[in-house]
Symmetry: D4
Subunit: 149 residues, 8 copies
């Protein structure tokens, strides 16, 4: 059963989001992945977000570029932690996506990571899961130790 859901707005962001998949694979965390656009598929987005918790999802990673409404819209429909990945590459290099994702109104948080830094989104999700999964916690410590060399 997937613990983490990775969603993003367009298959053109596959290259960026791969960074998340690699980390989740490396840590052996089950995840599901869907391409959804908050603006083009609003009902599907709402449905996905509202139903995620019941499916056993613990953390949602949402990547989006430009207006980047996806992470916030998902956060609006769930109380699961939502991690937002601003995706760069457009005319504003992701500053638009960063501002859209991080400047959420009071009441609905999105945990934002760096522009196109999907890898860190996955690591953050792993850190959250590790709070109640000792095995995962050990893997994280080993991962950190490896980085120190």
């Amino acid at each position: 059963m997937s613990k983490i859901a990775v969603v993003y707005g367009s298959t053109s962001d596959d290259g960026v989001m791969k960074g998340a998949f690699e980390i989740l694979d490396e840590f052996g965390v089950e995840y599901e992945s869907t391409v959804i656009s908050a603006h083009r598929q609003p009902e599907k987005t709402a449905e996905f977000a509202a139903g995620a918790s019941a499916k056993g999802i613990k953390v949602i990673i949402a990547g989006a570029g430009l207006s980047a409404a996806l992470p916030g819209v998902i956060a609006a429909h769930t109380v699961l932690p939502v991690i937002g990945v601003p995706i760069g590459g457009g005319p504003l290099n992701g500053v638009d996506a960063l501002y859209s994702i991080v400047q959420m109104p009071k009441g609905i948080p999105v945990a934002t990571v760096g522009i196109s830094n999907a890898k860190n989104a996955a690591l953050l999700a792993v850190e959250i899961l590790a709070l109640s999964d000792e095995e995962l916690g050990k893997k994280l410590s080993v991962y950190r130790l490896k980085m120190k060399k």
Copy 2:
């Protein structure tokens, strides 16, 4: 019957949005006004947007600050023209709201006006209505003539 709906995210934006009400009153255009938050009230937002056309609404004016998802989320649920007003005043002076509102993905447009310029949003709505309302068109021409003096 209201032709224009004005929605915005928080009563703290009343001062900014008043600029729109004054123009609509001046032109004698019927409108309705609601405070809705796209992030705090996603279902109500979706419902409002999806039902606007059936109620006879022709144009929706949506004001929002910070992440400013409201105009885009409404645009996602209707094919009516949606006019977005980025609301300033936060730490980024409305640049965040401007980028969020104007940088919509291909397929779902939002007609964006200047930061906190609700007056222009209303004038744009009047211009759109005037395309099929000769009387309103004349009022617009008179309004322009008055500005020239």
Copy 3:
């Protein structure tokens, strides 16, 4: 008879503006297209804008880069809705054009879309025309449905 006029400042923007032509063709909306520079051809620009309504034009799409005065200058000479497309590619990546187009003074609105997003400008124009063209409204709904898949 053309309902929509597409104008832009330079043939070097053909690639960006093509996005608008494709949408208008897809929806079967008649349009005319002209390359005019507000700064290099001010009289021609004023003449075009002032005469657009009498020719039956309902909406004007104006694309411009850098100082990007074109949309605003056209809006100054007509009460038709004017949609501005900030064109990117220069040293400031279109932020200059975006600010110039969107930050209009009170009284003369320009409906601004995203940087180089001519496609959305055309969709917005179609949404406006669809308010008094039921056939076009149906096409828009079908277009949206297709996007949802």
Copy 4:
């Protein structure tokens, strides 16, 4: 026993960080709070971060302005989830702090919230704790329901 630690760089940020305390109090989550400067007290910062997990802390909220190294330095010393609050008010209105906190290198994530939005940092922390605390999850759902009205 505190589940959440709130740290920030200066008592001059008390006003901003109060937003976090209010939320944590409202949800009845135990927390501890310390003023530490990553630059002025690097050893104390490292010690705090390295020891947090053993003390039972589950999530660390770290607020900082300007260079805003605190959240990242803490994240470097722990695998607990670290939530960063960029604090505005300086000459760059918090854009400096936002960039410093969110643009972490690959490997060490910080969950960043909006400029001076300590309230959302606390809500995010509550969402994380609620993953293994059913009671807290219910409170979150009630909190969301109240916001919808």
Copy 5:
């Protein structure tokens, strides 16, 4: 007979433009001053610009905020040197006006000075006039000498 024309978009900019008047008075240069809006009074603007040279005007100083089309529109209608003053004070602090005024397309220059720095616009105009007015040149040298103390 006035040698310099000072134009600006709104009486709300009187305070900024006073800096220009003071310099012109100090140097004893005759000038005329008009409030014109490029967007609200496009015909009057064009007429003014096109007729300036025939009236004996040598240099035009044009101040504008926000979209700030005025200097560029005037430059489009005359081959006299046009000096643009970006006026600050709006939500973007004059960056919008600066970009609009300075980023002119190739072919139509505007001599741009600093944000709200009308004093320098007037000094630049004086420097230009001094090229063919020896008396004025001496005054400029004296002015500079005074600054050195």
Copy 6:
């Protein structure tokens, strides 16, 4: 005898400054050109600027990138009109050079043109010379007329 001096900081800017030479050649205006760095050759820069007027120079065009002190330093040593060209291409795409050149303190103006827009710098210089050179004025009018087609 040269009427215009073109100076710039580095031979790596030859490509940008060529735009100025082409215009000056097209208008048949005599000019001299020197590569000087305000920071690396401060004495030579001061000497050049202080002596320009006596050599018969009427207008100085100065191009510089990054910190871009050259135009301002030259303006500090002469009362001739100085036109500054911010040169793009570095990590900040010329925004640094633009701010450095345009934001001069009160008392010492620099006439700033768009980023890397050396062509407009030359046209502005020609407009200034044309104030006392009827022949040049006619050429400018012809040049403008050609642009209108």
Copy 7:
């Protein structure tokens, strides 16, 4: 004999530069202070910088706002370390000064500190002097220890 010279462009910056004086007084470092404008008093600036070393000055602290040429111009005339303080408060909040001071061309460095952070400029100067002044080094260590509490 003064070891450190503090220069800045205008008495209106006294409030900012006081931060440097307080630190230098606290550490008992002799200094001299002068108000000089690089743009208004270029010869005096050059003379000051060229003569500083011979007077026994070891480090120069230079504060400036807007175009902020002062630190770079001084650095151009000396091989002493020059510390630049970008002074905020204008329409661009010191970003203009920061870019002007820090983006020096290769060959002429300026050691830049934070916007209006004259205190850190003085501490940096003290750190440099302490390399050959053991007593000062001890004072620095004590100062740091005090900060840790």
Copy 8:
């Protein structure tokens, strides 16, 4: 014995930092160089910084991109002068690194040079060493003289 230590966050910055090595080699200054990440190797970073002075190091040059905590973290552990090099190339072109490095809190200075301008960092270090090394001072003067030609 090395007088200067050059540290930076990743071997991917070798190309940028080479600019520093070349200058140090040219001036015959002994240096050591290490790749350390403040975020991935916090203990090693602290240890390096705390021990630098005892090893005879006089000046530390620290290069980092993105969040760029390295220079500030090192400065927190030593009273040696620390020179920070913001490294460009990421989505924000080094503006993030520049703000992170230069906007240090009061008490802990970092001497910041331009984006990716490692050459100037090395020259600044040489200027500092030259204060107590007459030979080096002469080399600097010769280097400057060569630049003037």
